[in-house]
C-alpha cells in the first residue's frame, strides 16, 4: 500500500516549507533514514529523512516549490505500484505564495520545563486553560480578516468566540484588535530614480520563510504586546578586566581548542543570574494568567546575511560561564550554516540582543513573544565619568536597554532586574558563585 509523504511541520511556527531540493528520483529505492531531500522552514534548512522504506513512486512537488504543512510531496510504496492521487492542493510557486497567516499570539508557546537536575529560579505554575476557545467558523473568519482571534472576547457558551464576535471586531476597526498580518500584497508606489540609475535597481524581492516569520512575529509582538522601555548604564571596566584575564588563562591552558569568552557570554551569564534574583521577569503572558518559568532558557539574536535567528541556551541558570560560552559558540556556527533545529530555536524565556559590535550605543529590541522582556546591549565606549571620589576619570561604559511586556512586569520590577544585572556585571566575580 503506497504511502503519501506530506510536508512535515518542522517548527512551532512553520506553516509553509520550501522543498529546496530532492536527493532522490522517482523509481529509486529508499531505506529508513535515507535523506530524501532538504526543506527550508521559516527558521532553518533541514534534511528530510525517509520514514517509509520502499520505492519512490511519485514526486508531487518539484524541487523549489513552496508548500503548506501537510501538503503531499511524494509517494513511497512497492515498486510498480500506482502512485495515489494526492487530495491536497497543488504546490504554489514560491514567489507567488501568500504569507502564512499568523496564528494566535505566542501564549501557546510553552517553554519546556527546567531540566530535572537544575534548581529553577521559581516554581513553574500550572496555568489555567490557555487554549483559545473559538468555533471553527469564527477561526476561519478571523483568519480571513487577519484578526488575532486570541485577542477577541467570546460571547458564546463558556466564553467561546463565535462568528458574531469576529464580525463585531471586524466591523469596528477603531475598537478592533489589531490585524496581525496584512491580508495581501501592499501597493508600494515610489517614483523611479530621476537619473535612471539610482543606487540599486527597483525590484520586488521575493522573501523566504525566515523573512516572513520575522515580519509576522515581530509585527505581532509590536502590536499586541504593550512595550515599555528602561535603560541603565553599566561600568564595564571590571567585566572587561575579568574577561581579559580569563581569556589569557584559558589560552595558556587550553592550547588550540581554548575557549574565548565574548562580552556577550558575560551578558548572557549575567542575565541568567539577574533573572535568578528577580524571577518575575522570567515569565510569559498566558492570556488569562501569567506563567512563571522555572528554567532560564536564554535566547540570543544571531544576525545572518538574509535575516536573524534566535537560538536558545537551555537551563542557563544551571550553566557556568564557560559552558554558556561553548554552547553559544556552537549555536552561532550552526545558525550561520542554517543547521539549527526547530528545537534549538524554541522555548525561550528571555532574549538578549547585542549591537555593540557595530558601535551602536543604545537601542530597544522588540520583545520575542512569549518572553516578558528583551535585553538590548550597546557598545562599550570610553567616556568621562565622575567616580566615587567626585573626580572625572575615563570610564568604560555600556548602555543596556530593556523592553518589557507591561502585562507581565511593571516598571519597578523591570528596574529591579536591571539593578540586579548591573550589580552582577559590575562585580562579575558574582558570576562565579
Amino acid at each position: 500500500m503506497a504511502e503519501i509523504i506530506d510536508m512535515p511541520k518542522l517548527s512551532d511556527t512553520m506553516s509553509v516549507g520550501t522543498l529546496i531540493k530532492w536527493n532522490v528520483k522517482e523509481g529509486q529505492t529508499v531505506a529508513f533514514g535515507d535523506i530524501l531531500g532538504e526543506v527550508e522552514t521559516d527558521k532553518a534548512t533541514m534534511e528530510l529523512s525517509c520514514t517509509v522504506p520502499g520505492t519512490i513512486l511519485k514526486i508531487y512537488a518539484p524541487g523549489g516549490s513552496q508548500l503548506p504543512v501537510g501538503a503531499p510531496i511524494c509517494a513511497i510504496g512497492k515498486s510498480g505500484e500506482i502512485a495515489p492521487d494526492p487530495a491536497a492542493p497543488a504546490p504554489k510557486a514560491a514567489a507567488t505564495s501568500t504569507p502564512p497567516i499568523a496564528e494566535s499570539t505566542g501564549v501557546a508557546c510553552v517553554p519546556p520545563a527546567p531540566a530535572a537536575t537544575s534548581s529553577g529560579a521559581s516554581a513553574p505554575r500550572t496555568s489555567s486553560d490557555e487554549r483559545v476557545k473559538a468555533s471553527p467558523y469564527a477561526k476561519r473568519m478571523a483568519e480571513k480578516a487577519a484578526l488575532n482571534i486570541a485577542a477577541l472576547s467570546g460571547t458564546g457558551p463558556g466564553g467561546r468566540i463565535l462568528g458574531r464576535d469576529v464580525n463585531a471586531a471586524a466591523q469596528a476597526p477603531a475598537a478592533a484588535p489589531v490585524a496581525v498580518a496584512p491580508a495581501g500584497p501592499l501597493n508600494v508606489t515610489v517614483p523611479a530614480p530621476a537619473d535612471g540609475k539610482g543606487i540599486q535597481p527597483d525590484a520586488d524581492i521575493p522573501v523566504g520563510g525566515m523573512r516572513q516569520t520575522i515580519a509576522r512575529r515581530l509585527l505581532e509582538s509590536k502590536v499586541t504586546v504593550p512595550h515599555f522601555y528602561l535603560e541603565v548604564e553599566v561600568d564595564a571596566a571590571p567585566l572587561l578586566a575579568m574577561r581579559e584575564s580569563l581569556n589569557k588563562r584559558l589560552a595558556e591552558t587550553g592550547g588550540a581548542d581554548a575557549v574565548k569568552l565574548s562580552v556577550n557570554d558575560f551578558i548572557l551569564k549575567g542575565s541568567a543570574e539577574a533573572l535568578r534574583r528577580v524571577p518575575a521577569v522570567n515569565a510569559s503572558w498566558a492570556g488569562t494568567s501569567i506563567r512563571a518559568h522555572g528554567a532560564v532558557h536564554l535566547s540570543f539574536g544571531v544576525a545572518l546575511e538574509d535575516g536573524l535567528v534566535t537560538p536558545v541556551i537551555r537551563d542557563a541558570q544551571a550553566k557556568s560561564l564557560k559552558e554558556i560560552a561553548v554552547e553559544a559558540k556552537g549555536l552561532i556556527s550552526k545558525a550561520r550554516a542554517k543547521k539549527l533545529t526547530p528545537n534549538e530555536m524554541s522555548g525561550s524565556t528571555f532574549t538578549v540582543t547585542n549591537l555593540g559590535m557595530y558601535g551602536v550605543t543604545g537601542f530597544y529590541g522588540i520583545i520575542n513573544v512569549p518572553n516578558a522582556a528583551i535585553l538590548s546591549v550597546g557598545a562599550t565606549i570610553k567616556k568621562p565619568v565622575v567616580d566615587a571620589s567626585d573626580r572625572i576619570v575615563i570610564g568604560q561604559r555600556m548602555v543596556i536597554g530593556l523592553s518589557g511586556d507591561h502585562r507581565v512586569v511593571d516598571g519597578a520590577t523591570a528596574a529591579q532586574f536591571l539593578q540586579a544585572l548591573k550589580l552582577v556585571l559590575e562585580d562579575p566575580t558574582l558570576m562565579l558563585i
Binding site: S135, P136, Y137, A138, K139, R140, G156, P157, L162, G163, R164
Partner: protein
C-alpha cells in the same frame, strides 16, 4: 392546483404508474378487496383487476420474497407492508436478497421492487408496531430509502421509486395520511437523492425527514415569532442516496445546525448527517451540532408519554435555542 391528502397522493402515484406500465403490480395484505389497511390502495382493485392488485397471505417473508423474485424477472411490484415494523420478519428478503442481487449477479439481475407502508410511532400502537427502520435499511449498500413528508413529495417520490431499477423502500406515516397539500394532476417525479429546502432562513439550519419536517416547520414558526430567529428547514426526502450538497449548502449559510428525526437517537440517520457536516463543513460551524430524536426507549404505549417521546415543536424549539446560544 388540486389540494389532496398524502394518502390520495400516494394512490395517485400508484394509479398513474399502473396505467403507464403494465408491469407494475400491487401486492400486500388486504391491498385489494379491503382497499388497503389504511385505504391507500382504495379503488385500485376495481380499476385494474385482480391480476394487477393482489391480496397476499399474512406472511411477509413469503410475499416479499415473491415480489423480489417477480422483480428479478421483469415485474415491477409495489409491495405494501401494513407496518414497516413487520419488515423485520422479512429482513433476509428485504436486505440480503433485494439489496445484494444486482451486485452478486455482476449487474445481470436487477431488482426493481418498491416496498411501502407506514413507518412511524405516535399512534399508540405499542413498541412492536412503531418502528422507524429507515436508518437500519439505509445502512445497507444496494438499498434506497425515501421518507416523504408532504403530499407533493409522496406522489413524486413514489413514482420515482416505481421507475427506479433498484429496490426502493418508501417509508410513509399514518399520521400524515390525512395531511393535505397541493399536488399537480400531471405526471412528475421527485428524483431520488434530492433534498428540498422547505423553508429558507439565515440563523439556523434544521435538517429533518418524514414527519419531523412538519414538526420542524412548526418549530420554525414559533422560533421566528417568539424569538426572532430565522430558521431554514432542509427536508432530506431521500435517506439514501443522501443529498449532501443541499445540506452542506445550508450549513454554509447559517453556520448552526439542529438535526431532527423521529428515529431513536442511537445510530440514527442524523448520526450520519452529523458526521457528514463536521467532516465536510467543519470550518463553517459556529456551534456544536445538536439533535432532537425520539427518546431512547422502546416505543411507549402510554399515549401521553408517547407524545413526549417523539420530537414535538416544543422540544425542537428548546433545542434550537441551545444551538443558538
Amino acid at each position: 392546483m388540486p389540494v389532496i391528502t398524502y394518502r390520495e397522493a400516494l394512490r395517485a402515484a400508484m394509479r398513474e404508474e399502473l396505467q403507464r406500465d403494465e408491469k407494475v403490480v400491487l401486492m400486500g395484505e388486504e391491498v385489494a378487496q379491503f382497499n388497503g389497511a389504511y385505504k391507500v390502495t382504495e379503488g385500485l382493485l376495481k380499476e385494474f383487476g385482480p391480476k394487477r392488485v393482489v391480496d397476499t397471505p399474512i406472511s411477509e417473508a413469503g410475499f416479499i420474497g415473491l415480489g423480489i423474485g417477480a422483480s428479478m424477472l421483469g415485474i415491477r411490484p409495489v409491495m405494501e407492508l401494513m407496518f414497516w415494523s413487520f419488515s423485520y420478519v422479512a429482513f433476509d428478503q428485504i436486505v440480503n436478497n433485494a439489496g445484494n442481487i444486482r451486485y452478486m449477479s455482476g449487474g445481470l439481475i436487477n431488482c426493481p421492487i418498491v416496498i411501502r407502508g407506514p413507518a412511524n410511532g405516535g399512534t399508540n400502537v405499542g413498541a412492536t408496531h412503531s418502528h422507524t427502520p429507515e436508518a437500519i435499511l439505509a445502512s445497507h449498500p444496494g438499498i434506497k430509502v425515501v421518507c416523504p413528508a408532504t403530499p407533493y413529495d409522496a406522489k413524486g417520490l413514489m413514482k420515482a421509486a416505481i421507475r427506479d431499477n433498484d429496490p426502493v423502500y418508501v417509508m410513509e406515516n399514518t399520521i400524515l395520511y390525512n395531511d393535505k397539500g397541493e399536488v399537480p394532476d400531471e405526471d412528475y417525479i421527485v428524483p431520488l437523492g434530492v433534498a428540498d429546502v422547505k423553508r429558507t432562513g439565515e440563523d439556523l439550519t434544521i435538517v429533518a425527514h418524514g414527519r419531523a419536517v412538519i414538526t420542524s416547520l412548526k418549530a420554525a414558526e414559533i422560533l421566528e415569532k417568539e424569538h426572532g430567529v430565522s430558521v431554514e428547514v432542509v427536508d432530506l426526502r431521500s435517506i439514501r442516496p443522501l443529498d449532501e450538497a443541499t445540506v452542506l449548502q445550508s450549513v454554509r449559510k447559517t453556520h448552526r445546525v439542529l438535526l431532527v428525526e423521529e428515529n431513536k437517537p442511537f445510530c440514527g440517520v442524523d448520526a450520519q448527517v452529523a458526521y457528514l457536516i463536521q467532516s465536510k463543513a467543519f470550518d463553517e460551524l459556529d456551534a456544536p451540532i445538536h439533535r432532537v430524536s425520539s427518546i431512547d426507549a422502546p416505543q411507549i404505549y402510554c399515549k401521553r408519554l408517547e407524545d413526549q417521546q417523539l420530537p414535538n415543536a416544543q422540544r425542537v424549539v428548546a433545542e434550537a435555542l441551545k444551538v443558538l446560544a
